[in-house]
């Protein structure tokens, strides 16, 4: 049954489908009312099922055989050595004392100058200045050493991601048989909460740079692999055919046609990998990884919001600098083709390059020889007097006062909002999901999957639900599902509202985009405490934190989608006499349907990735189970099962939404790949 989606009309579905969905939901309510509270598969907070104890036993067995089993000795130890050496090398280069000297190989002056020069050479002047300003700011905050630690870890994780991810992506891009299992494994890597495998990781890879890098690698690798696979698949078949007709072998096609044409998208994937690696800074701090993450975690021990914000701001600055650098690198090739430089610039460029290179080498030499150029100075001579460089403290104090003012004056209002939303929205949905018999919920989900998606999706859904029941955490999964749905709907509402605004107004876009970037990269741990102060430990707090993290992505995707709507269509609508609302509702939104579904899908992924953080602020359910599994040795199996349950929920919801999108739209891409920057 084919459907044609015409721009300007709403979703075109056969009337039968909407009626079926409505009937299913109604039937669910009726049957649930009859069997309320039975077959709900409850499990007390501290109880374990057979599966959980079995997983504990597996963990114990692995620990006992760590030194004897050949798998561990030959495979894990080798990996640990290789990864540890790489990370150690990078750390010695910019961050940690190395080679018998009390300072790294390249001191702060060298790093700043080198980064500026490289950004200028491979990017443009603006990015170079941004890099210089950003890195110097990190030093002024008094966080240079920690920033370099985080940077070293991030770079080594990104390097490994590129080395491993691009070949995997190429394989997945070329062969369908490889693509399906690879996508599933990547799903696991991205949605499995890190807390689940942090403790076992230290068992196999010991405490140190190797564990931290590998933990980061697991979360950061999927974007590179996915974007590469997508890019390979989207290369125009005409280009490939042309090369084949010229006699190119498969390998030559890959290296000569597919890879070069996919370069911009692959660089985008690497940029996303970098963001993901940076976002792991606070989590790896829990296994003693040096860097800014430790500052955040330690500040939270004393509930010191200011210090946590200072460190979080450094992470944001680092992320923005790295992101703009990679974007500039990828755009440089396109820009120089479009706009050849003026003759004066062309003539000056070579001497400038040489001078710049010499200056950089000189700065590196200085940073190796003089202490003031190696360790970021803590005092400076300003106006004839020596003063402390205290920018970090000032930022911390400012953040503290703002937080105190907000929590002091607004908590009445915010608590009211929390109560209202909890009572009217979260509680009813959660009761319906947790108090209906499990088989009823399963049937409803499978039917909805079949109707909104396809029969294959229904089968996948049924499998996911079966395994979910097997984990023994059904009730918690339903509670988490309720919160996820509420958060996703809120994310989409924000996404559409702000995204359309940004899409229609260039100034709004310029003003809001940096705020979105900051919100996405700021570690959630930083705004946890103010949220708890405003909303008290509750499920609403978890939903709010998830929305703060997921909304920027959705907003950006929707904004890009609205911007991509051809201006001719908008003009035609305006010329025909449409008001602004009519243009939005009847032209811009329907024509950006692909972006809307991608925004929903990505919003869902990001919301799910905040489930564990939600567990730290009173959400309970699966998030708390994961955190408890990391903190108590007997709950490890339950924590692992909870992590798997989160992944299953992710797969289930993702497959359904994408299938629904496939049906009603023109989506061709695998997930996680917007047409423009995210």
């Amino acid at each position: 049954m084919t459907t044609i989606a015409l721009p300007g009309r709403g979703a075109v579905r056969p009337p039968g489908r909407a009626a079926v969905v409505a009937a299913t939901l109604l039937g669910w309510l009726v049957v649930a009312a009859v069997f309320w509270g039975r077959w709900t598969l409850e499990l007390d907070r501290s109880d374990l099922t057979g599966l959980h104890t079995w997983l504990n036993d597996v963990r114990d067995w692995a620990g006992a055989h760590r030194n004897s089993s050949p798998v561990f000795v030959y495979v894990f130890n080798v990996i640990r050595l290789v990864v540890g050496e790489l990370t150690g090398l990078l750390q010695g280069l910019i961050a940690q004392p190395a080679y018998g000297r009390p300072v790294p190989v390249v001191g702060w002056l060298g790093v700043v100058t080198l980064t500026t020069y490289v950004s200028w050479v491979f990017g443009n002047l603006r990015v170079a200045l941004l890099a210089a300003a950003g890195l110097t700011f990190l030093g002024l905050q008094g966080l240079w050493q920690e920033s370099m630690d985080t940077l070293a870890l991030t770079l080594s994780a990104v390097l490994l991601s590129v080395l491993i991810g691009i070949p995997i992506g190429i394989a997945a891009g070329l062969w369908d048989a490889v693509n399906r299992p690879v996508q599933l494994v990547l799903d696991f890597m991205q949605t499995m909460p890190s807390f689940v495998y942090l403790a076992p990781m230290t068992l196999f890879f010991l405490i140190g740079p190797a564990s931290a890098t590998i933990a980061t690698l697991i979360y950061a690798l999927p974007p590179t692999a996915r974007y590469t696979a997508h890019a390979i698949r989207s290369v125009s078949p005409a280009a490939v055919e042309a090369s084949a007709s010229l006699g190119a072998t498969r390998a030559q096609q890959v290296t000569g046609v597919l890879l070069p044409l996919s370069r911009p998208t692959i660089v985008l994937g690497v940029s996303q990998t970098m963001m993901a690696a940076l976002s792991m800074a606070t989590i790896t701090a829990l296994i003693d990884a040096p860097g800014l993450g430790k500052n955040v975690v330690k500040a939270l021990e004393s509930v010191d919001v200011g210090k946590a914000f200072n460190a979080g701001l450094a992470i944001v600055v680092l992320a923005i600098v790295l992101d703009r650098m990679t974007t500039a690198f990828s755009r440089r090739a396109e820009i120089s083709h479009r706009r050849p430089p003026s003759p004066l610039v062309a003539r000056l460029r070579r001497p400038l390059l040489v001078a710049g290179g010499a200056g950089t080498l000189f700065a590196v030499y200085l940073s190796r020889t003089y202490l003031w150029a190696a360790e970021f100075p803590e005092t400076a001579v300003v106006g004839g007097r020596e003063r402390d460089i205290d920018v970090g403290n000032d930022i911390a104090k400012a953040a503290d006062s703002v937080t105190q003012w907000v929590t002091g004056h607004l908590s009445g209002l915010t608590n009211g909002v929390k109560d209202a939303v909890t009572i009217r929205v979260i509680n009813p949905l959660e009761s319906l999901l947790t108090q209906s018999p499990w088989w009823l919920v399963a049937v409803v989900v499978v039917v909805l999957a079949a109707v909104l998606g396809s029969r294959r999706v229904a089968v996948v859904g049924a499998a996911c639900l079966a395994v979910l029941v097997g984990t023994g955490l059904w009730e918690d999964a339903m509670t988490t599902l309720a919160m996820t749905l509420v958060a996703t709907v809120a994310t989409m509402v924000l996404g559409v509202a702000v995204g359309v605004w940004m899409g229609r107004s260039r100034r709004a876009d310029q003003a809001i985009r940096p705020v979105l970037d900051a919100a996405q990269v700021m570690p959630a741990f930083v705004y946890l405490v103010p949220f708890v102060a405003l909303f008290a430990p509750s499920r609403f707090t978890a939903v709010a934190a998830a929305v703060v993290y997921a909304a920027p992505v959705s907003i950006k995707i929707v904004a890009d989608g609205v911007i991509a709507v051809p201006t001719t269509a908008v003009e035609a609508a305006t010329a025909a006499g449409s008001t602004a609302w009519q243009t939005i509702a009847k032209v811009q939104l329907p024509m950006s349907r692909q972006a809307l579904t991608l925004a929903a899908n990505q919003g869902l992924c990001y919301v799910l990735s905040m489930v564990v953080v939600g567990g730290l602020v009173g959400a309970g359910a699966l998030g708390y189970d994961v955190v408890a599994g990391f903190s108590q040795t007997e709950l490890f199996g339950k924590g692992l099962a909870a992590g798997v349950a989160i992944v299953l929920l992710g797969i289930l919801l993702d497959r359904i939404t994408r299938a629904a999108a496939d049906r009603s739209g023109r989506i061709r891409d695998p997930r996680g790949v917007p047409s423009t920057t995210t």
Binding site: P102, L300, R349, A358, T369, I423, G620, S631, T633
Partner: protein
């Protein structure tokens, strides 16, 4: 960059030579300008002769009280015994695991954890108990001071049902809310609520930061909150929470976790070390064995770190300078 190389290879113009000359002069001038060089710094920074103490790996669990212990012990070990102290920020579970791999030598504050004792001390034999730290841990149910002042009888558990409706929140429905914190602690709160027949629901805050923030807000806004807390804890210096008295602890009343109906036992906080390190003849082992101080000592250093915002090292130095006799008693 290839432009640069081609340029350098091809050109022989005087301009290029002038640049090189200017660069060299600049470099020499700057080199002659002095300033502390890295080499001179590294000469000065070499440590005094180590008295075969070697390296000590101290696990630092994520709470301020522990940081105080680690700061002071680490400071003394470095300054008095010449040890190389490596501190690793790890949770309890990972720290105990590290004994077996040799990455962790000592845990300076352990709160009971019978399951870990059973696994690593009795079972694997990779860890040993090095005796008490001198601190007494008290876990229990606490309320903010304004509440205890307004309703003095709330400190008796028998009156909790009377006030249950006051503690209602959106998370606890019709029952009163009892707030739990970090899942690192084994709690009996659910069993207690059930067995003492209290009209409360345990809500899991999930982290110590959430718990502290909730208590802080409650005291500031004068809203009712009842939750799990413990001493020694730095927050009690800021807001002196009042303990609610549950039925007193008797030996064996918490043997079956499902039937607990009494208060938490007092904890004698102790030090755990890796069996291998403890049997080595490093002087640091004796330092750790002898290390003991009171709750007030730890609270003072914790206050330096949280309220006075000193670094852990500075806080340790200040306390050690002010208490030389106590420190002397620890040295081997």
């Amino acid at each position: 960059m290839s432009d640069t190389l081609r340029y350098l290879r091809k050109t022989r113009s005087p301009r290029w030579r002038a640049y090189a000359l200017a660069g060299t002069v600049l470099a020499l001038t700057a080199a002659g300008c002095g300033g502390a060089t890295v080499e001179s710094e590294s000469d000065g920074a070499s440590p005094s002769a180590a008295k075969d103490c070697g390296t000590v790996n101290i696990a630092v669990n994520p709470w301020v009280g522990y940081e105080a212990n680690a700061a002071v012990v680490g400071y003394v070990a470095e300054k008095e015994l010449g040890c190389t102290v490596t501190k690793k920020d790890l949770k309890e579970e990972v720290s105990w695991q590290g004994f077996g791999t040799g990455e962790v030598d000592v845990i300076l504050e352990n709160w009971g954890h019978p399951e870990l004792v059973e696994k690593y001390i009795d079972g694997d034999k990779t860890a040993v108990d090095l005796g008490p730290t001198g601190n007494d841990g008290v876990i229990g149910w606490y309320v903010p001071p304004w509440l205890a002042q307004k309703y003095p009888d709330i400190t008796d558990w028998k009156n909790l049902n009377k006030y249950a409706s006051m503690f209602k929140t959106s998370e606890s429905g019709a029952q009163g809310q009892f707030l739990d914190g970090d899942p690192s602690f084994v709690t009996n709160d659910e069993a207690l609520v059930k067995n003492l027949k209290l009209n409360y629901k345990v809500v899991y805050g999930g982290s110590e930061a959430a718990l502290i923030t909730a208590f802080r807000q409650a005291e500031q806004k004068k809203t009712p909150v009842i939750g799990y807390f413990y001493e020694p804890q730095w927050f009690l210096a800021e807001v002196p929470l009042v303990k609610v008295n549950l039925p007193p602890y008797t030996d064996g009343c918490d043997a079956d976790p499902a039937k607990v109906a009494c208060d938490y036992p007092p904890y004698e906080l102790n030090k755990i070390a890796s069996a291998k390190w403890a049997s080595s003849d490093s002087p640091a082992v004796d330092l750790v064995k002898n290390f003991q101080w009171t709750n007030d000592d730890q609270n003072l250093v914790a206050k330096y770190i949280t309220v006075d915002k000193m670094s852990a090292e500075d806080a340790a130095k200040k306390w050690v300078d002010e208490n030389p006799d106590k420190v002397k008693a620890w040295l081997p």
